[in-house]
Amino acid sequence: MDADRIKEKLNILADAAKYDVSCASSGSNRKNSNKGLGDASNGICHSYTEDGRCVSLLKILLTNHCIFDCAYCVSRKSNDIKRAAFSVQEVVDLTINFYRRNYIEGLFLSSGIFKNADYTMERLVLVAKKLRTEQNFNGYIHLKTIPGASDDLMRLAGLYADRLSVNLEMPTEAGLKLLAPDKSRQDMINPMRFLKNELIQYAEEKKLFKSTPLFAPAGQSTQVIIGATRENDVQILHTADHFYKNYNLKRVYYSGYVPVLADKRLPDLNTAVPMVRENRLYQADWLLRFYGFNVNEIVDQQNPMLDLDIDPKLSWAIRNLHAFPVDINTAPLQMILRVPGIGRLSAQKIVGARKFARLNWEQLKIIGVATNRARYFITCNSNDFERRDLTGTRIKQFILAGSHSKYLRNKPGQLSIF
């Protein structure tokens, strides 16, 4: 192997792939039962870039040659950059050697479109096939499927990969038309529907026959780019919700647009990456998936954008003060989950611990409740509770003033969820 050439390729093709935000390597259940290499049972972030994003997969493009011309993409045809392409074997060698050293959980392979969709997709599938069948590799493989690829290739991809994703790119069709004129929403949705049906079918067969092979055990995900076009958060969250419900997606990733190209259809090159907004969208998405909220509770036509200065759960609570205070010792889990300052784990601990004794502030603190936030919304086994009839605005001021949020003191960045 020519060390310098492979280094150059890796630089080019990792650089071009880094804007794809999907990094998760969890949700699969591939076991090392063949004395082979690796497993894909728990997602581990092996490192973090200087911007604080998790590195868990070798995330590269097979090539950055592309026949398309999407405005937001560095690899687009009309962009004057160095081009490179890996051979199938090179990707296999890199993956195996990185994995053996415990650098990564597996491979995330995407690609520019070489010639046409199928030609490109076939190569992606070949990489996955070689890893599984020749290298006995059980680590994680995520393939980005090429819109427009044929069903047969999608099916093969599902047999070798843990997760497949088709990127929606823009939250709405209009946005897509504007920035990616070569792409069509239909070409993206068809493979999603195909995968959804295959996943259901494999799950059914699995119930009947133990020997049914794994088919994309970590399901499918998608990515939408935020802030390149003018969609508001109502539109974005409804899109996400629609895809969660109708296509059984495991995750929707929100990627704050990083200006890389000058184009009059796009935000100016000096525009800041909308990191806070991106983070609020992840928090809202979390509320949809794990906290029993629906989109209309989080944003609506009166409040079409998420608050940037407070998280969406606090924002909902402040707009719905009539639902509070909640009595920690009697309220159902669903309601406790809605209290600002109480996360999923704490909520479950509360419900477990209150069977032993009625809980007071001390115990809530021990359990991990952020009482400085929660105190405006709960009562517990204590006479000491918030008696003032505070307005939402006042509560917000108090919380922000006493906030221990590292986030508000430091520069805005990605913060942990709740």
Partner: protein
Amino acid sequence: MTRLIYDGTFEGLLTAIFEIYAHKLTRVSLQRGENNTSAMFENVIIVKTDEVRAGRVLKGLQKKLSPSGIGRLYIAHLAEIAGDENTLAGFIKYAFDSPVNIEKNFGNKYVQRVSEIVGMMRREKHRMEAFVRFQRLKDDIYYAGIEPDFNVLPLLNRHFKNRYADQKWMIFDSKRKYGLYYDLHDTQFVTIDFSEAHNPANVVSSFNAGEDLYQRLWQNYYHSANIPARKNTPLHLRHIPKRYWKHLTEKF
């Protein structure tokens, strides 16, 4: 106040609990290691680890705790935090005294503290699963040095054995001077002093031929994956605290 000094093993701890009940001691304090107390008027018992006695305590615990509860006790014990021997003893006594299972009573200070310690152990274990960096040596062993805050090596066995079933590997805790070695069939703990021969600085001569290339490729990849426009140093440091850097290939 009676002070019980035991050898630091889990069996030793359980034997100490046996002694407490056998002698009906009420005010006790546990301590690991040698008898180096200078408190002259204290009543000191040197606990001699005894598998039969430990076994009896364990059996009793099995009636009071779930298997995962006992596992958690063991994990908390591995943390070796000075002073927390007494938390474990308090937890065990509380479990014995209560007619119902107490594992979920997080309002109790012992239950809560054990849960906290287990949380710290989990975090450290998880970090090690993430931050171990193997280097392939000439004899085809994949070698990694670690220096975790807590003694988590025994907890790493299963993860790495499952994951790297087809390569020989060794993870060496240079702080505690022992390692875990997998020979393609089984793992065993080894206590040879590898710290000299295999510290990252002078290990290069024993590298496999391709090792240097892959280390450089990984460093390259790591830098290419960064997006300077999103730079966030505090967040970065929160995820990978500096004390781990010397074992991370991408940070060499």
